[in-house]
């Protein structure tokens, strides 16, 4: 997990991920949040473009944020890797922004537009949006996937286009809510002030939770959570490894060996070679 307080004495921002397929409006959503929040919060942006720095250039040209607060990270054709299993370059970009513009309240990290399976590692972001749009078809939300099912917020974007593409927004939102077991769904249109306010208020509430120390990053995961055949909840059978931050669900991917080295999962005890003095027990205070 990211250090909740600081890195090297630099205050930590709330880090929010924005994932979703190409063309659903991730960059526009970020521009919208910058416009809505930029005057009251210190905001910065990291983009993960697959083949160009198009997204970073779009955001710079949108004029909603100081261009120097927008940085692009190359992904080496691996947008999934860059936000999920080797988040190093993204973490460095986020930490650089936090250092260069300290104090930063909010860093928005945009994923390279990928398929439905790409979600952010909790080692990179504290919470995440997954963005769909009505133009992609009303049935996409039903298809599910980790981002659709378990991102902190599912945004159904461009609702103003619904009449033109023959999509029933209410049905699509209903399908999404069903797929998400009641987790938050925001039907968004830039032209619908109420929906914009809902999104903005969620960010502000999440920032409050982050500052209060009660925001727990949750991995949407590459796989659906499951129970063992014998009916024993998987979480219960491994509670010696998992801290209190996975109270109700998790999957088979024990991705708790985060390079950030928070010790909440007891890694200090199980780290290989932990008894040897040349191997360190990792603590957040030692991060470079």
């Amino acid at each position: 997990m990211p250090d909740p307080v600081s890195h090297g004495g630099v205050p930590r921002s709330l880090r929010l991920g924005v994932a979703g397929p190409v063309g659903t409006g991730k960059s526009s959503l970020i521009a919208l949040l910058c416009r809505e929040l930029g005057h009251r919060l210190s905001v910065a942006v990291v983009t993960n473009d697959i083949y160009t720095d198009e997204d970073a250039r779009f955001l710079r040209s949108a004029g909603v944020l100081d261009p120097e607060r927008i940085r692009a990270v190359e992904t080496g054709a691996c947008p999934h890797t860059a936000i999920r299993d080797d988040v190093t370059q993204n973490l460095l970009a986020v930490e650089d922004l936090e250092r260069d513009f300290a104090p930063v309240d909010l860093v928005l990290v945009e994923s390279g537009g990928d398929n439905l399976t790409a979600t952010f590692s909790p080692a990179l972001v504290d919470a995440q949006f997954f963005v769909l749009d009505v133009a992609g078809g009303g049935d996409v939300a039903r298809k599910g996937g980790p981002g659709i099912a378990r991102a902190d917020v599912l945004v159904v974007n461009k609702t103003d286009l619904a009449p033109h593409v023959g999509v029933d927004v209410l049905q699509m939102v209903h399908d999404a809510e069903h797929a998400r077991d009641g987790r938050r769904v925001v039907a968004l249109s830039r032209t619908d002030a109420e929906s914009v306010a809902e999104l903005r208020d969620w960010v502000l509430q999440t920032l409050e939770r982050f500052r209060a120390g009660t925001l727990v990053p949750v991995d949407p995961g590459p796989m659906a959570p499951h129970r063992h055949a014998e009916g024993q909840d998987h979480a219960e059978s491994h509670d010696h490894l998992h801290g209190p931050d996975h109270p109700d669900e998790h999957d088979h991917h024990h991705e708790h060996d985060q390079p950030d080295g928070h010790d909440q999962h007891g890694w200090g005890e199980v780290r290989p070679g932990g008894e040897e003095t040349r191997y360190r027990h990792v603590g957040a205070a030692h991060r470079p």
């Binding site: 160009t52 250092r99 390079p259 030692h286």
Partner: protein, 230 residues
């Protein structure tokens, strides 16, 4: 733990150091018109020029870390870091190596005690001192117990695999051919290992010229369409 095991661990492409964002210069080379068939030659050029300098720097960083008294290691490492910079004319390539140095140190400092290299927390304002990747790899090799030869081979192997993995993404081909090319590079890799194993001081670092690699590196930074950082 055995150094042989840790040597494999550090050579694994899955090591989380952001290396998947790098192409070892093969992306701009291909853009500039180099053909896929020339990739083995490209590997040989790198192993005889920039990669030899890189490996030599890592070998010397390893020796420096082991020889200097704890608390007095950064001064001689800074001299070495400067020697590497003086032999790397392209600032685009130096920047890429610095970013990789930071990434590598982030990983290594979570595994070994590298506080001296990391430096004290600076707080907001100027960032910590940045070390080029070769220095960080060499110091990591030192604390992992790798020998001089293992250190040099690690750097050379990584360079070969970085180029081939990136080429595979840019101009897809039967991936087993890439493995064959990597295997065929072994004599060049061992030649490099032998040539840097005896280095004892930064002044002895090879200062080759690889003007095309440097020029392509400079051009690549300005391109608006790229998959890889460098």
């Amino acid at each position: 733990m055995s150094a042989a095991y840790l040597s494999l661990l550090l050579a694994d492409g899955r090591l989380p150091t952001g290396a998947h964002t790098q192409s070892g210069g093969v992306e701009p080379a291909l853009h500039a018109g180099m053909s896929l068939a020339e990739v083995p030659h490209y590997l040989r050029v790198r192993l005889r020029t920039v990669t030899e300098t890189e490996a030599g720097t890592a070998v010397l960083a390893r020796a420096t870390w082991l020889a200097a008294e704890p608390g007095h290691r950064t001064a001689p490492l800074a001299v070495l870091d400067q020697a590497w910079r003086a032999r790397t004319p392209s600032d685009a390539l130096r920047d890429a190596a610095d970013l990789l140095g930071r990434s590598y140190l982030r990983m290594a400092a979570a595994v070994w005690d590298l506080d001296e290299l990391v430096g004290p927390a600076a707080g907001p304002g100027p960032a910590r001192r940045v070390w080029c990747r070769a220095v960080v790899v060499g110091v990591t090799a030192a604390v992992a117990g790798l020998s001089t030869v293992e250190t040099a081979r690690l750097v050379a192997f990584e360079d070969v695999q970085t180029v081939l993995a990136a080429a595979l993404k840019l101009v897809p081909f039967d991936p087993s051919h890439g493995v064959a090319w990597a295997a065929a590079a072994e004599p060049e890799v061992e030649r490099l290992v032998a040539s840097v194993a005896g280095l004892t001081a930064p002044d002895e670092l090879p200062a080759h010229s690889a003007p095309l690699i440097e020029q392509w590196g400079q051009l690549h930074r300005e391109t608006e369409r790229r998959l890889f950082r460098a």
